[in-house]
Symmetry: C2
Subunit: 141 residues, 2 copies
DNA sequence: TATTGTTATACTCTATAACTATA
DNA sequence: TATAGTTATAGAGTATAACAATA
């Protein structure tokens, strides 16, 4: 079992998750915050929209946006068209933090995959892309 | 970020973990219990030994062995050489459960990797084996 | 009545600290 | 004193339920 592909994927996935978390420590955020910042960089989205796009649930999203607001990376703005909704908008420093995050995450990924050659890294991306499809991940929640 | 190898590995690893958990539901255990049963199938080991071999900490191991005892899959036996230690021994039904678990986990893994051909599955195992090395996982806790 | 955002709550997982019994 | 096992407890993460405001 310990050498099975599935077990290794679970184990490495967990370790990589922690590593990505730590790679963003200096910015006070985690990868989930980066995913939100990426979505709102170009699009105008409510929290509910963000839930749909990221798969997080509403209460988690409240906490994530709370964090982004507290850090000055984003603001909640009442939607003009539907006053129930609050549009989440990045601040200037939020966009800076986003771009720094992407650099840090790229660096962390390079470190994680460094045992493999560039060709092998490409192969791995191809294989994992075919496993981690949206519909598969949805039906294995 | 959403298409990066690292993110996909984290995401798929998490989904696979849940899938493996559910695959063992009928036996009332989880993969960690299987790892313990595998270790004690042939060797005589104390809980501390099992901690060293699996990386779980002492308190987690207490809970895991509690579960195995409650289900009748293992027993704690006082060590004759060191009365502080308690050797964990599998029962007959524990060995049966172990062999069933291994079948269920193999089946679950086959399902998870089914989008890939046999050759590709072999490739993936090779690549992930080189990433998820014991020392790398140890230094990324 | 349904939806958006929110709060409060419960539940799991994991890690820490403290206790016992042995060495 | 150090180690093995245990218990109690606290922390983070996540999910559920209930509520206010709006559609």
């Amino acid at each position: 079992m310990e050498t099975s592909t599935g077990y290794l994927l679970v184990k490495f996935g967990g370790a990589a998750g922690g590593y990505f978390d730590r790679s963003l420590q200096s910015l006070g955020i985690r990868p989930r915050h980066v995913r939100v910042l990426e979505k709102i960089r170009t699009d105008t989205l409510s929290q509910q929209d963000l839930c749909r796009l990221t798969g997080m649930d509403r209460t988690t999203m409240v906490a994530v946006v709370d964090d982004l607001e507290r850090l000055g990376y984003a603001r909640r703005v009442p939607s003009p068209t539907d006053r129930r909704k609050r549009v989440v908008t990045p601040t200037e420093s939020g966009l800076v933090a986003l771009s720094e995050s992407e650099t840090l995450l790229r660096k962390a990924e390079a470190a994680l995959l460094s045992p493999l050659s560039a060709t092998e890294q490409k192969q791995l991306n191809d294989l994992v892309s075919r496993l981690a499809t949206p519909d598969l991940l949805a039906c294995l929640p």
